[in-house]
């Protein structure tokens, strides 16, 4: 139990947990928050907004949410995808369930930031490499209707490590999904800047 002295998460816990780079104290706080979120979902029913970073397997959440829409409307799931609609604030601003799809919250952005006024990705403020990202409405649409002009296909990762690793559950990667974020620049600038969304900070 030397881990306890060093403020590290015990190896046995890590073995059964989701990827996280947080030190022990904040790891535990984050863990409690996850359990609270899950318990509220179970006992109070579907939340207005889903805390994507709280899941073990967010990739599965994305598929399930799309499947819900496909089944309810008699559509083929493999013709559907999500449109990324970035909303105007953080979780406090969510007041009702969306008409279709799901609302998700709790993400961060590194290597860029969200400009609330221009409603697009912009360069970071000096000295702030990572910042909170607003709530996103994932709207199910037909894949053929997805417009990718003037958008940066921004990867969402679980942790700042970004790289995938094979886990015992067979889920192989840190990558969750692409979010299509509006930009007025050449999207390749954001690729070179390494701009990505993350589920959590390392602190």
């Amino acid at each position: 139990m030397n881990d306890f002295l060093d403020g590290k998460v015990p190896a046995m816990w890590v073995n059964w947990a989701y990827p996280s780079l947080k030190p022990l104290a904040s790891w535990f706080d984050d863990f409690l928050e996850r359990v609270i979120f899950m318990r509220a979902w179970i006992e109070e029913g579907m939340p207005m907004s889903y805390w994507i970073p709280g899941f073990f397997f967010p990739q599965g959440f994305k598929t399930a949410a799309l499947q819900m829409h496909a089944r309810a409307n008699g559509l083929e799931i493999d013709k559907l995808t999500f449109r990324t609609n970035v909303m105007h604030g953080l979780i406090e601003t969510v007041k009702e369930h969306p008409e279709t799809g799901v609302i998700v919250h709790g993400n961060f952005i590194e290597g860029a930031r969200w400009d609330y006024k221009k409603k697009m990705v912009e360069d970071m403020e000096p000295k702030i490499a990572i910042s909170q990202f607003p709530v996103i409405w994932l709207e199910p649409i037909f894949e053929v209707d997805l417009k990718l002009e003037r958008t940066y296909e921004c990867p969402l990762y679980k942790t700042s490590q970004r790289r995938g690793e094979l886990t015992t559950t067979g889920h192989s990667t840190n990558f969750i999904m692409m979010m299509n974020l509006p930009t007025d620049q050449n999207p390749e600038n954001w690729i070179r800047r390494g701009a990505a969304m993350l589920c959590m900070t390392d602190e």
């Binding site: 399930a64 309810a72 990505a196």
Partner: protein, 245 residues
């Protein structure tokens, strides 16, 4: 080498400079960790030499500079052969496209957001060296396409590594006297955490809508997902609870 293309000396000088810049930029990006590359790749001088040989060949054989073919062969085949992560391949292609493009033939075209980095106008090898020696030694991450904040990320990583090493070599034994032993501290920590471990998640107390079935008698997809997450949380909860006894 700089003078080795008789067919298109100006084009070659521009392109070989762009290639060298690309080589240096992708190697330097590794220093910044995951914001540079997801994985750390070991590119070698042979990747450069091979790309240079093909560049010479293409310029000698073809009437125009074949930018698309060169981008493909250098980014995807030569350097890309070592790249395993999908998102890194995308980054690699974007990096090279910035340098291997028709605009690079324009003497005013900049290779980064900074003014002083460009493929110099056609000249001698000595003139090239002169230009290079005028470049700053202390590079802004912008040189490699990254934002200046990347330096801060790099410094944070260095400090974290350093602190990790310091912790490793710290003595474990307390100095005696009234100080607590490591065992005592551990036990107290474990008790404090133990008291905070919540109860397991429970399907029995679920809201009626959560695990319900749709009109076709199938369980809701999000309910199935929730059920799987619930199992994983309970396994972790049990693990933590048992380890703190």
């Amino acid at each position: 080498m700089y003078e080795s293309c008789d067919a298109k000396p100006r084009e070659y000088k521009k392109m070989v400079f762009a290639l060298a810049y690309f080589h240096a930029a992708i190697l330097e990006r590794r220093k910044y960790g995951a914001i540079g590359w997801n994985e750390r790749y070991e590119w070698m001088n042979s990747d450069f030499q091979c790309s240079n040989a093909q560049l010479l060949l293409f310029l000698a054989e073809q009437p125009e500079v074949p930018y698309i073919a060169l981008n493909y062969i250098v980014a995807q085949v030569n350097y890309g052969g070592r790249v395993t992560d999908d998102r890194d391949i995308r980054t690699m292609n974007s990096m090279l496209r910035k340098y291997f493009c028709p605009e690079v033939m324009n003497d005013n075209y900049k290779l980064s957001k900074l003014e002083m980095y460009y493929a110099p106008p056609e000249g001698t090898f000595e003139q090239l060296n002169e230009y290079l020696s005028g470049l700053p030694l202390d590079e802004d991450p912008e040189v490699f396409g990254l934002h200046s904040n990347a330096n801060m990320i790099y410094e944070n990583n260095v400090v974290k590594d350093f602190m990790g090493s310091v912790l490793l070599i710290q003595p474990r034994l307390a100095a005696g006297g009234a100080a607590k032993t490591p065992e005592q501290i551990c036990r107290e920590n474990a008790q404090a955490y133990s008291a905070r471990v919540p109860a397991n998640l429970n399907r029995e107390t679920a809201h009626p809508d959560v695990f319900k079935f749709d009109d076709n008698g199938k369980p809701l997809a999000l309910g199935v997902f929730l059920g799987q997450e619930l199992e994983r949380f309970n396994i972790l909860l049990n693990c933590i609870r048992h380890s703190l006894v």
